[in-house]
């Protein structure tokens, strides 16, 4: 059966330790100075009323993915589970997808010249029944991943108990990565 993979980043549990980012680098052989994912830390407010927002920055696996639409060769494609992947054999590195992605998720690998991004570790882990590298190392369980159509899964439970938001929801790209917004620190609303 088709799986409905979802990833949830709970910004209240995230401590900005970047273990996820380090795990991603070593799992996926990401060269220096480029990132498939990182947690960007934004300090908001005026001293002493400060708060820190931890925002995951990565491919969000759009259902209506602009990167797939623009790709001239079909190198950017969706698997039957709806995960956006790149076939490096077909990719000519025209960078159309890099400019088209509204989430700044793609980059050119400076060594291989291939276009890369977060893959949910699909080929190396998820397709083998494992979790993405970032999820396994998160010390506070701020990252939850799984098949949301499976009612026994962690991700299903998390989605039920939390109020999920989607990045740049107004664009209508229907991401599969959701976040639970930070409520800690000062509030300005």
């Amino acid at each position: 059966m088709k799986k409905k993979f979802r990833m949830i980043h709970d910004e209240n549990l995230c401590i900005g330790c970047q273990a996820c980012s380090v795990a991603c680098r070593s799992e996926n052989d990401v060269p220096d100075n480029v990132f498939r994912m990182q947690v960007q830390i934004e300090t908001k407010g005026v001293f002493p009323d400060l708060k820190m927002d931890m925002q995951r920055h990565s491919c969000v696996m759009c259902e209506d993915a602009p990167c797939v639409t623009v790709c001239p060769t079909g190198a950017s494609f969706q698997t039957k589970d709806g995960l956006v992947q790149i076939d490096h054999r077909l990719c000519v590195s025209c960078k159309y997808c890099v400019v088209a992605c509204p989430y700044d998720a793609r980059f050119m690998n400076p060594i291989t010249k291939n276009i890369e991004k977060c893959t949910f570790c699909y080929s190396n882990r998820v397709s083998k029944g494992l979790e993405p590298a970032c999820v396994t190392v998160c010390p506070t369980d701020a990252l939850v991943f799984g098949d949301i159509s499976d009612m026994t899964s962690e991700v299903y439970k998390k989605a039920k108990e939390c109020n999920l938001l989607y990045p740049k929801a107004n664009l209508g790209t229907k991401p599969k990565v959701a976040f639970v917004p930070n409520k800690k620190g000062v509030s300005y609303e």
Partner: protein, 324 residues
């Protein structure tokens, strides 16, 4: 964003750098020059007289294949993996504007070469080296009863090539300055303007003997109209971004006011490229004077304006995305 762990370098990269801007210019100029050559051929020479191959037609036949081929070479070299470019020709995604462009170019480029071969038939016949190609030319000529139809097809393809570069950019929802329906019309118009300027320049410099003053005047008039159209199109582009609000508004304000790219826009695109040709037309070339120096000067400023417009849109679009 502050206090980020790691490097932000990858987010500031200009993913489509200068070769793309130059390509966009060359593709526009190529399409424009063949459009103009065909218009002159059709409208200015109803009767099949000797002057049919006048300088404008020859110039167009020369510029069009040359610019598009150079442009395509630049495009391929700019790929991260230039050697795998052949995938663009064998693996299609019909939703992608780039694929549609590849198909149009695949038909347009050889057809523009055929046009050149026919226009320069005599030159090819007489030249020691080129005469080797003559059998090909005469083979093509055996289909001459279709010539007019092929010209229509070429004209239509040129319109597509001239406009698709605008669609190529406008298909990006992530870049407000590109994500506008104005861009294809603007690029087609300014490409036609470049075609006129290029044809006049090359025609006057290389094919003086067959210059047809009436053609030149007709074209200068046409160029003035195209330029007058470009000004409101640019206005519309920014007004559209402004009223879209949010990131698009921020992007528009920054692109028009911050740093060197704002300077390029106001001085290069507006003052040099659009205002100065209008001024020249209203003063030096008034009453349809035929002053060679001013006509050449006019062509040069128009071309500079068109090139800078492409550079401005490509760079300012990628730099000022309105992201906070």
């Amino acid at each position: 964003m502050n206090n980020v762990w790691g490097s932000m370098a990858q987010y500031d990269v200009i993913n489509w750098p200068w070769p793309i801007a130059v390509y966009l210019f060359l593709a526009g100029a190529s399409a424009g020059s063949i459009i103009i050559a065909l218009l002159v051929k059709w409208n200015r020479h109803d009767k099949e007289v000797a002057t049919i191959w006048d300088a404008m037609v020859k110039a167009g036949a020369l510029i069009s294949p040359l610019t598009i081929i150079i442009g395509l070479i630049l495009l391929i070299l700019d790929l991260g993996k230039p050697l795998s470019f052949y995938w663009l020709l064998i693996s299609y995604n019909f939703e992608s504007v780039m694929t549609l462009g590849v198909i149009a170019l695949f038909l347009y480029t050889p057809l523009s070469l055929v046009f050149t071969a026919l226009i320069f038939e005599d030159v090819i016949k007489k030249n020691a080296l080129l005469s080797m190609l003559y059998p090909v030319v005469s083979y093509i000529k055996s289909y001459s009863k279709y010539a007019k139809k092929i010209e229509y097809v070429l004209f239509f393809l040129a319109l597509i090539v001239g406009a698709y570069t605008g669609f190529l950019l406008s298909a990006n929802m992530s870049i407000p300055m590109w994500n506008s329906p104005i861009l294809p019309i603007l690029f087609l118009a300014s490409g036609i303007s470049a075609g006129i300027a290029g044809n006049i320049l090359v025609g006057m410099l290389f094919f003086k003997s067959s210059i047809n003053k009436e053609s030149i005047k007709y074209l200068l008039m046409l160029d003035l109209r195209v330029i007058m159209l470009e000004i409101p199109l640019l206005l519309l582009l920014f007004v559209g971004m402004f009223y879209a609000g949010g990131a698009a508004k921020v992007s528009a304000i920054q692109a028009l006011s911050v740093g060197n790219w704002a300077l390029v826009f106001w001085v290069g695109v507006i003052a040099v490229g659009l205002v100065s040709p209008v001024v020249i037309a209203l003063t030096a070339l008034k009453n349809h004077d035929y002053k060679v120096k001013f006509i050449l000067f006019n062509s040069v400023v128009v071309l500079i304006g068109v090139i800078l417009l492409r550079f401005y849109i490509v760079y300012a679009g990628q730099i000022f995305t309105g992201a906070l």
